[in-house]
């Protein structure tokens, strides 16, 4: 057919031996170098740290744990942790849960998947909750629900703005229905907070799914996300199985969600603190934000 003549060939054909020889496997010394999971660029860990764990080549935002995030966001020396000793129980006597909790504590150095407290952002006092994906995939069980609820209640009592950085695989299965109920608990606490006119800024970080995105994280007055952050309810694999179709590459990314009206703004990590301070300043004297400096 004539049409076939003009059709672009979709793939370049490379002889297989060239693929093997052209890209020798590069050895990465443990801890010294880091490979970007998006573009494959290898960079010095030190350089990556200096770049706030953002890939210098493609801008991919590596995941941060709660303490790294707090260091980047909260004015130095102003953070006071709340409920730092709160730990999970095993209410369902779920096989393996106690061991897994112990292992997660060892690996992450955290006691559960969220750190909450009070601190200042650009001088503005706030109550903040920061989730950590490295503890049990940031899953929400009784402790996460209780700490977030207490943080909201503290913000309500002290009339302070609330800021959360969420990242979560969803509700924690091992605590069963109690995990599910944390969604209602945190959302009800936010209802009181909002009713009182409190300001809530919610920042999605990669990834935020399931029970956390379907509760407090989606209820901010302002919804922000870091570039490339996956935010959604059901995971990609589950959806692909349901609809039996491949989803577009950018599905559920911050940029996709921005396009679909689900976010106010995508903010680069290096600009996040300044942007939060600016937003707080816009509310000076309102919603619990301090009256300027």
């Amino acid at each position: 057919m004539l049409k076939d003549l003009f059709q672009k060939r979709k793939y370049a054909v490379i002889p297989s031996e060239r693929i093997n020889t052209e890209r020798p496997k590069r050895e990465i010394p443990e801890g010294l170098m880091n490979k970007c999971s998006k573009c494959g660029t290898i960079q010095f860990s030190k350089e990556l740290e200096k770049n706030l764990k953002v890939c210098a080549s493609c801008g991919h935002h590596f995941r941060l744990n709660a303490w790294e995030r707090i260091a980047l966001t909260i004015d130095e020396g102003t953070f006071v942790e709340m409920d730092g000793e709160m730990i999970s129980e095993d209410p369902l006597q779920f096989a393996g849960y106690t061991d897994k909790l112990a292992q997660q504590k060892r690996n992450s150095g955290l006691k559960d998947a969220v750190v909450t407290g009070e601190g200042r952002i650009g001088g503005f006092p706030v109550v903040i909750g920061v989730m950590s994906f490295d503890f049990f995939s940031g899953s929400m069980g009784s402790v996460v629900g209780e700490k977030v609820t207490r943080a909201i209640e503290t913000a309500t009592e002290k009339r302070l703005p609330l800021v959360t950085f969420s990242t979560s695989g969803g509700a924690r299965m091992q605590e069963g229905i109690l995990s599910l109920m944390q969604m209602a608990k945190t959302s009800a606490a936010l209802a009181r907070f909002q009713d009182q006119g409190g300001l809530y800024i919610s920042v999605f970080t990669d990834p935020t799914l399931g029970g956390v995105s379907a509760s407090f994280a989606s209820l901010g007055d302002y919804l922000l996300a870091e570039p490339g952050t996956i935010v959604g309810f059901a995971g990609r694999i589950v959806i692909e199985q349901t609809i039996r179709q491949k989803l577009p590459d950018n599905f559920q990314t911050a940029e996709f969600n921005l396009q679909h009206g689900q976010l106010d703004k995508v903010v680069h990590r290096k600009d996040m603190k300044t942007f939060l301070a600016k937003l707080l300043d816009m509310h000076a004297g309102k919603g619990g934000a301090a009256d300027g400096e």
Binding site: M173, S179, M183, G210, L219
Partner: protein, 347 residues
């Protein structure tokens, strides 16, 4: 009704024997009345034995039984003058959620519930009872309306969960569920919820923030479908029965955890054996709770609902021993659900 669930096999076999004996007796004109009566008694005993010892997995199959009464069945059995209302006013009318106005013993109420299909065609229209965001938004619209006009809200919960598809994500199903959770917490009217079949995850909870949450005896309520849990835990969705046990999803478990207030009994063998009798039991319980709630002011109703959900969870403190004097531990005890032991003791 046919005994079609696996654990009902012994019953089916015994029933077959009884029928054979009856037929044989009739054909040969022999009187087997005594034997048949004995077998009928044995049948009843066996029935009681089997149905009073159902496992979580067996209940899961019962809760998903194709002839189990649905929300619309119960609406017609519980209420009169039902007026169905449609649409979220923004995008569509999601048939996976039905709702409207009705009279409950003469009182106007708003009723909302998940609706599974009755057959394949119906199920396709209703997405097997799994709502899209527009379904949750329709429910919220009807509940806001109830709040405005001071009508009690009754929700019937029966879903595998929110529809897990790209269309649901594009229209922000997370926000739709979250919004329902937040706003249901604010309504100054009584909210009563009944889990009538399967209470699947966030999609169920989005209609579940009530002052009272009741559960049918064989209904289940879970953070994740046992099938989903099995594929995550053991990479094998066929181990759903095992996951059903581990996740503690039965009405008894939830009562023990303080998540529900009451278990509504079902007829022997399950709600589908006698939908009218099941509805009668639901009606009695709902009415009783509604009478209590109707004495409360709007503020009291909101506070009551807040306290109900505020309590749920089980936590401890790493330094409980050192904190004993400061009262931290007793605080932890206060917000913990009763554990199995103390619960058993108190009963």
């Amino acid at each position: 009704m046919a005994n079609d669930l696996p654990y009902e096999k012994p019953l089916a076999e015994l029933r077959k024997k009884i029928e054979e004996l009856k037929k044989f007796g009739a054909e040969r004109d022999i009187d087997f009345t005594d034997e048949i009566n004995r077998l009928e008694i044995r049948y009843q005993e066996l029935e009681r034995e089997i149905y009073s010892n159902l496992t979580a997995a067996q209940m899961m199959h019962l809760a998903r039984h194709h002839s189990r009464p649905t929300t619309l069945d119960f609406i017609h059995l519980l209420f009169t003058d039902f007026i169905e209302l449609h649409g979220d006013r923004m995008f569509a009318d999601d048939l996976a959620i039905v709702g409207g106005l009705a009279k409950f013993n003469g009182i106007p109420v708003t009723v909302v519930g998940h609706q599974r299909g009755k057959d394949t065609k119906d199920n396709i229209q209703r997405f097997f009872g799994s709502p899209h965001p527009e379904g949750f938004r329709k429910a919220l619209r009807l509940m806001r309306q109830a709040n405005k006009f001071g009508r009690p809200i009754i929700t019937l919960i029966d879903t595998k969960g929110a529809y897990p598809g790209n269309t649901a994500e594009e229209r922000n199903v997370s926000e739709a569920i979250a919004r329902n959770l937040q706003e249901m917490a604010t309504f100054g009217v009584p909210i009563l919820c009944v889990v009538i079949g399967e209470g699947g995850s966030g999609g169920a909870l989005a209609l579940g923030v009530g002052n009272r949450v009741l559960m049918l005896e064989n209904a289940i309520y879970s953070v994740i479908s046992p099938n989903g849990a099995a594929s995550i835990l053991w990479k094998d969705a066929s181990k759903a029965d095992q996951a059903a046990e581990a996740l503690k999803i039965t009405a008894k478990d939830l009562l023990r955890f303080g998540v529900i207030e009451e278990i509504v009994p079902e007829p022997m063998g399950g709600a589908h054996r006698d939908p009218a009798a099941t509805a009668e039991a639901i009606k009695e319980a709902l009415w009783r709770h509604l009478q209590e709630l109707r004495t409360m002011t709007p503020d009291e109703l909101v506070a009551d609902r807040y306290e109900k959900f505020r309590r749920v969870g089980k936590i401890a403190f790493a330094s409980a021993e050192t904190d004993r004097d400061s009262g931290t531990e007793s605080e932890a005890d206060k917000i913990s659900v009763p554990d199995a032991k103390s619960d058993a003791e108190s009963q």
